[in-house]
Amino acid sequence: MSVAEAIQQAGHDGVQLAKRWLESTTWIELPFDVYTNTAVCTLTRLDGKVKRYDLFGQIFRDPPDPFYVEVKNYTSAGGKQPEEYWEFLANAYSITAQDDKTEDARRQFAWVTLHPFEQTAWSELTTAKRVAKALKKHPEVLAGEQVNPDLLSLTASRLWLLVLHERQTDLMLTSVELAIIEGQLNRKGRK
C-alpha cells in the first residue's frame, strides 16, 4: 500500500468508526458518505464554492435535523487540525447564511476527531465568538457580505465538537442489543 493509499485508508477507517459510534447513540443515522454519495454530502457556500462532508444523515428530532459530519483521523495535537477547524467553522456559517436567503435548512455540523486539539481554547471552540474569528481568517466564504450576529449565534448553536477514541467501541452496546432497543425507543418515529 502506498503512502497516499495508507492516508486515504486511515481517513476511511476514521469515517467508519465515527459512523458506528454516532449511530450507536440511537439518535443519529448517517447513511451517506462522500466516497459513494458525493452529491448529497455536498453543500454550497455564499461564494458559490462547494464543501463536501464525510458523512451525511440526520438527528432523530421532530422534525429531523440534517446532520453533516467531518471526521479527522489525526494521531496528535499538531498538524493541520487547528487550521482546518477554522475553515470548518467558516464554512458552517457561510452555508447557514446561504440557506437563510431562502429557507432555514436547520443543518447541524459536527467535527469528530480522534485527537483533541487547541486544548487551551477548548471551551470556546463552538462559540459564536469563535465562528466570528473564523470568518476573519476566511473572509472569502462571505463573498463580500456582512456578518450577521444572529446567524453567528444560530450557527454556533448547531455545532458539535466530539472526540472519539477507538476503545469507545468497547463500551458501545452490541449490534444485537441496539437492534432490540431500537424497537422500544422508536427514535425514528415510525408509524
Binding site: 447513511p31 451517506f32 466516497y35 459513494t36 454519495n37 448529497v40 452490541t174 449490534s175 437492534a179 415510525r190
Partner: protein, 516 residues
C-alpha cells in the same frame, strides 16, 4: 462479469449518485430487491426504514415453507473492502445475527486481504457478497441445454444458507461447478462432477444448507444414473423449493421415472400435501412414478369419484348409465360426480382400445384419470365437496360383495318396511350381522353411507363412504390406497367392470381389489 451483473451494478451506481436521499434509498433498494427476489422468490422481502445503518438492517427476508421459519437481515454497505479494519469491525459486530452483508459496489481488494476477510467470516454464518455477485448467480450459466437443476438449487439456497465471502469470481466458479458441460447429457452426472460441485458448495454454504444441496445432488444422480453416492443423506424433509426443482426435472426423464427406489426415497422426504402444493409446477405431468410407491405411506382425507364431463369419448365407450345421470357440473373441475342410480349395473359396454390411466395434480388435488372416469384425492375435505348429499343411495345387494374388500364398521340399512343400523359398537362382526338380517328379512335394502376400513390399513382409519355424495371421507386421514380403493371399488360400482378394473390397476398391484 455477466450482463446481468453489469446492468445491476450500473443501476446501483446511478442510484447512489442521485441528488437526494430518497431517490438514493429507493433506487438502491429496488435494484437490490430484484436480485434477492429473483434468487429467493418464495421468501417475503420487507424494507426497513433504514439505509446503510450500522446495526439496523435495510431489508429482512423471511422464509416459511414447511421447514422451520427462518429470517435473515440484509445489511447494505457502500463497500466491504476486505482487510480494512473498520469494515472488519462492522462484519464482526453483526456476525451473531447471521446477516447477509451486501456491498453495493464491486469489491476490489488485493488477494491477501480478500483471504483475510474470507478467513474471518468463514466460521460464522455471515454472508459477505456484492450485489454484482448475486446477479452473477441469478443469471447463471447461459448453457444452451438450459439451467441445470443444481444451479436452480444454488440460486434458491444462496441468500438463505450462504456464508463466508463470495466475490464475483467465487460466484462465477460456483455457477460453473453446478453446470455440467454441454457435451455431457444430464444422464451422465458423474461422481467427479458432483464432487466438484459439492466442494464448491461447502465453501459457500453453511453446513445445513450444504447438506441439503448434497442431498438433492445425490438424489439427482441416483435418479439419473442409479449410482449411489458415498454418505448419501436421505433424511429430513425436502423444502418446497427443492421439490419444485427435483420433481419436474426427474419426472421428465425416462431413466429416473423407471427408478422406483428413487421415488420411495423422495416420497419419504415429503408429504401428500407437499405434492398437492406442487400442482402449478407439474402441469399435465404424469406423477404415477412418485404416487404409486407412496400410496400406502401418504394419507389424505377424502376421495371422490367423478365423471370427466369434458372427455371426448367414442360413443361406444360411454355406458348408458352415465347418460342417465343429470347432475350439475362440478364447476371447479368441469366434472360430474357419478353415484348410484336405481338402474342395474351395466357390464355390457363395448370396450375400445385399452386406455391409459394418468395420475396428475391439478387444483391442489391428485387425480387418477381413465378416459371419462376420474378419482380425485385431497388432504382437505373442503376441496372436494362431493355430489348432492341427497343423491341416490346404493342397493345393498349391489355392493355387499364389494365390501368384502374392506372391514365393515357401520351401515344404515333402509328397507321399504324397516330401517336397521348396524355398527361395530354393537357387534364385532358387522358383515355377518348384516348377512343374517338380509337372509331373514325380505326387503330391498338401500344404503346411503357405509363406514369401512381399508384392507391392510394398520392405522385402522375409518372412511365414511357416501354414495349420494360419491365421496369417501376419513376425517382423521387414511392411506391414499384405502381412499383410492373405496372410490374405485365402491363409489364406481355402477361403472363397467373393465373400466373399474383399469382404475384399480392404475393404483398398482397393492391396490388390487375384487370387483365382482
Amino acid at each position: 462479469m455477466s450482463e446481468r451483473s453489469e446492468i445491476v451494478s450500473e443501476r446501483v451506481r446511478s442510484a447512489l449518485q442521485a441528488p437526494n436521499p430518497t431517490e438514493i434509498v429507493k433506487g438502491v433498494k429496488d435494484a437490490v430487491a430484484e436480485e434477492l427476489t429473483s434468487l429467493s422468490p418464495e421468501a417475503k422481502l420487507t424494507y426497513t426504514s433504514y439505509f446503510n445503518h450500522s446495526y439496523m438492517p435495510d431489508m429482512v427476508l423471511d422464509w416459511n415453507d414447511g421447514r422451520a421459519k427462518e429470517s435473515r437481515p440484509i445489511f447494505l454497505r457502500n463497500r466491504v473492502a476486505a482487510g480494512e479494519r473498520a469494515e472488519d469491525e462492522d462484519v464482526r459486530a453483526l456476525a451473531s445475527r447471521d446477516p447477509v452483508i451486501l456491498t453495493l459496489t464491486p469489491t476490489s481488494v488485493t488477494a491477501g486481504r480478500t483471504e483475510l476477510l474470507r478467513s474471518q467470516v468463514q466460521s460464522t454464518r455471515t454472508l459477505v457478497t456484492g450485489v454484482d455477485s448475486l446477479a452473477e448467480v441469478a443469471e447463471g450459466s447461459p448453457s444452451p441445454s438450459g439451467a441445470s437443476p443444481l444451479i436452480t438449487l444454488v440460486r434458491s439456497n444462496l441468500v438463505r444458507g450462504g456464508r463466508g465471502l463470495l466475490t464475483s469470481e467465487d460466484a462465477e466458479r460456483l455457477v460453473q461447478s453446478a453446470q455440467p458441460s454441454d457435451s455431457a447429457p444430464d444422464g451422465l452426472l458423474s461422481a467427479e462432477f458432483l464432487d466438484g460441485f459439492l466442494t464448491q458448495a461447502q465453501q459457500v454454504f453453511a453446513p445445513d444448507a450444504a447438506l441439503r444441496l448434497r442431498r438433492s445432488a445425490e438424489l439427482l444422480r441416483f435418479g439419473l444414473t442409479g449410482a449411489e453416492g458415498e454418505g448419501a443423506q436421505d433424511e429430513g424433509r425436502l423444502s418446497k423449493v427443492e421439490l419444485g426443482v427435483l420433481l419436474p426435472y426427474l419426472l421428465a426423464r425416462e431413466s429416473s421415472r423407471q427408478n422406483q427406489e428413487l421415488w420411495v426415497r423422495i416420497g419419504a422426504m415429503m408429504t401428500f400435501e407437499d405434492l398437492e402444493d406442487m400442482w402449478s409446477s407439474l402441469p399435465d405431468v404424469d406423477v404415477q412414478p412418485l404416487v404409486l410407491p407412496n400410496l400406502r405411506n401418504w394419507s389424505a382425507r377424502r376421495s371422490q369419484f367423478v365423471l370427466n364431463a369434458s372427455f371426448d369419448a367414442p360413443a361406444a365407450a360411454v355406458p348408458s348409465v352415465l347418460e342417465a345421470e343429470d347432475e350439475g357440473p362440478n364447476e371447479q373441475l368441469g366434472s360430474e360426480s357419478i353415484g348410484a342410480t336405481d338402474q342395474e349395473p351395466s357390464t355390457s359396454v363395448e370396450t375400445p382400445t385399452p386406455s391409459q390411466s394418468k395420475w396428475t395434480v391439478r387444483n391442489r388435488m391428485l387425480a387418477i384419470e381413465l378416459d371419462e372416469l376420474r378419482i380425485l384425492l385431497s388432504s382437505d375435505s373442503r376441496r372436494l365437496k362431493g355430489r348432492d348429499l341427497a343423491g341416490v343411495p346404493a342397493r345393498w345387494d349391489d355392493i355387499s360383495g364389494l365390501l368384502n374388500n374392506f372391514e365393515l364398521i357401520a351401515v344404515d340399512l333402509r328397507g321399504a318396511s324397516r330401517r336397521i343400523y348396524v355398527s361395530a359398537e354393537r357387534s364385532g362382526d358387522v358383515k355377518a350381522d348384516v348377512a343374517r338380517i338380509r337372509a331373514t328379512i325380505d326387503d330391498d335394502f338401500h344404503v346411503t353411507e357405509v363406514t369401512v376400513v381399508g384392507e391392510g390399513d394398520e392405522s385402522d382409519a375409518a372412511m365414511a363412504v357416501h354414495f349420494g355424495a360419491a365421496t369417501a371421507t376419513a376425517s382423521l386421514g387414511a392411506p391414499l390406497i384405502s381412499l383410492l380403493q373405496a372410490a374405485a371399488a365402491l363409489l364406481a360400482y355402477k361403472m363397467p367392470l373393465e373400466a373399474r378394473s383399469q382404475l384399480v390397476a392404475a393404483g398398482g398391484p397393492e391396490a388390487s381389489v375384487t370387483l365382482t
